[in-house]
């Protein structure tokens, strides 16, 4: 409210209104984040707004940077697995497997088929959890909390399967270099079978809530769209790239862990908007489900009991052998004390992570730790397109765009 003095001042100096003055706009600055219920993670965006329309935005990242690349230079290979858990923590097992496979590529280990299929089961389960979280959060951000609560129950069941296999839930540290630390036990198989029997019904119901929901469609179609050309230029991978219409999937282009043995389709979108990203993920969940089914059938045909490769230099021997067997004791000592001979060389290995191509660029100079380890983190690379994607959109579109991009703070900041 203007005071008396100001008022009289205004009267004295009547502003000259020119054509330029009328054109000149005043923008408001909105600080979204770093902690905000709608950003689902530590993201800060300073938005320049014209009313409710976003004119420009400046993202700030690095709030949970933990120097993983530096840490990895001081850790033996098997101790890097827990670091990779904390990249994309919505699908930790994929990161773990990706890391194991990178090291196996370096040491040229041959992995038995059964182990590869077991890995595929784990990876696809975690892809399901990742996509479920992402898709249901799009629902939350557009006002539909029901689906979110509903699918989290299924996510919980998957976490119970992890629990049987490796003992932990979110940051799993699942598997070892060369295979798994133990075979899947009967409870794990039973839980997996139960999950497989119940899951389709739940996912169908979830889809009924959102896929043809008028409100959801109005909120998401056209929000945060990006063309295929721009997406490629920005280094998009994973569901976000496929939603823009590019059928690139690491599982098909560079099959790892015997993905070439499986039948599955790669869904693609057309507009690259939030709705397409949602639909691509939704279909990918079905594809993952079918891959798990195939893997379970394939494993049944293989001889039971194989759960790791024959790489004694890297895979810890069972404890009872360490106590009773000279050789096992030596290997155990060598692995733990870092006396293993590690080949020199450079490898780049990539896996299809929950949100894109997760790459590991590993340079080894023969030391007990990597000389240099670089994580190609998909969301670090594609999150820089966010200002371009939300420019000209409404604030509410910016929120659903961010949740549909599946940006995970842990991976973004590494």
């Amino acid at each position: 409210m203007a005071t008396k003095n100001q008022k009289s001042k205004e009267i004295r100096e009547t502003p000259v209104i020119t054509a330029e003055k009328l054109e000149e706009k005043e923008y408001s600055i909105l600080n979204l984040g770093p902690t905000h219920p709608a950003t689902h993670g530590v993201f800060q965006n300073i938005l320049k707004m014209d009313g409710e329309v976003i004119v420009d935005s400046e993202p700030t990242i690095g709030y949970i940077h933990r120097a993983f690349e530096k840490l990895a230079e001081r850790r033996p290979y098997y101790q890097i697995t827990p670091i990779t858990d904390r990249l994309n923590y919505c699908s930790s097992p994929i990161n773990n497997m990706g890391w194991h496979m990178t090291v196996e590529k370096l040491i040229e280990a041959k992995i038995p088929k059964r182990v590869e299929y077991m890995r595929i089961i784990i990876m696809e389960l975690s892809r399901i959890t990742d996509h479920l979280v992402c898709n249901s959060v799009i629902g939350v951000d557009s006002g539909a909390l029901t689906g979110f609560v509903y699918v989290f129950e299924e996510r919980e069941k998957i976490y119970e399967i992890y629990e049987e296999i490796c003992g932990s839930r979110l940051t799993t540290n699942i598997g070892r270099i060369g295979g798994f630390e133990r075979d899947f036990n009967d409870v794990a198989w039973a839980k997996l079978k139960k999950f497989m029997a119940e899951f389709p019904k739940v996912l169908k119901e979830f889809e009924k809530l959102l896929v043809r929901n008028r409100i959801f469609m109005d909120r998401t179609i056209g929000a945060g769209a990006i063309s295929a050309e721009r997406a490629l230029n920005y280094g998009f991978t994973g569901p976000n790239l496929r939603a823009a219409g590019v059928d690139y999937d690491v599982r098909v282009m560079n099959p790892y862990s015997s993905y070439e043995d499986f039948e599955f389709t790669i869904p693609v979108g057309t507009n690259g908007d939030t709705y397409d990203r949602f639909m691509v993920r939704e279909e990918e969940i079905w594809q993952s489900y079918s891959i798990i089914k195939q893997a379970m059938e394939k494993i049944e045909k293989l001889p039971a009991g194989v759960f790791h490769a024959d790489v004694p230099d890297f895979y810890l021997p069972p404890k009872e052998e360490v106590y009773n067997n000279m050789e096992a004791l030596i290997y155990h000592f060598k692995i733990v004390m870092g006396e293993t001979e590690i080949p020199k060389g450079e490898v780049y290995h990539c896996v299809e992570g929950g949100n894109g191509e997760l790459g590991f660029y590993l340079v080894s100079d023969g030391g007990r730790t990597p000389y240099r380890l670089h994580f190609r983190r998909p969301c670090f690379i594609y999150y820089q397109a966010y200002p371009e994607m939300i420019r000209g959109n409404l604030l509410s579109d910016a929120i659903v765009t961010m949740s549909s991009m599946n940006v995970i703070a842990g991976e973004l900041d590494a």
Binding site: G235, Y361, R372
Partner: protein, 167 residues
């Protein structure tokens, strides 16, 4: 993959001659060492040439070899031709005193943050970059943490003996 190496090497040698230092296979990757000044031209050529079409920047990162005098720092580019599924790696090395590299943001928008990250951790300056400032670390940080001389933890600690462990 061997064919890819010879094909790309032939193309590059025809167009850039001496600026291609070496071409070799490293496991499943053709790797090319390029002279620093020409790196953006080389990548631009690989992007535009109708036979090459490396239109996707998979990764860009720095590396530090403190013992290679005169070539301490390096930048590593991973390029990808998606339709043909060709992947190659390009490397440049240069001295730490003169750590200036032309920016790749003119070709790939994706290079923007990757170069900022490389600057942030290795102190490599990308000439012509639109917004070269730290991206993950705090802005008033001193030093470049991924260089080998940067200590992992506080060096004044006396409660730990690292003679048996670590690099």
């Amino acid at each position: 993959m061997e064919e890819l190496l010879t094909l790309v090497e032939k193309k590059l040698r025809e167009n850039f001659g001496d600026h291609i230092i070496s071409a070799e296979m490293m496991r499943d990757f053709p790797v090319f060492a390029i002279k620093r000044d020409k790196i953006v031209e080389v990548i631009k050529y690989l992007y535009d040439d109708p036979e090459m079409e490396f239109r996707f920047l998979t990764d860009l990162c720095g590396i530090h070899f403190p013992d290679n005098k005169g070539e301490e720092l390096g930048v590593i580019y991973h390029l990808h031709n998606m339709p043909k599924n060709w992947r190659i790696r390009l490397r440049i090395f240069f001295s730490a005193e003169d750590a200036v590299v032309p920016t790749l943001t003119t070709v790939f928008s994706a290079a923007n943050w990757m170069e900022r990250e490389t600057y942030d951790f290795f102190g490599i300056v990308f000439k012509g970059h639109p917004n070269l400032k730290r991206v993950l670390n705090v802005e008033d940080m001193i030093g470049f943490p991924m260089r080998k001389e940067f200590p992992l933890e506080d060096q004044t600690r006396e409660d730990k003996d690292n003679t048996m462990f670590g690099r």
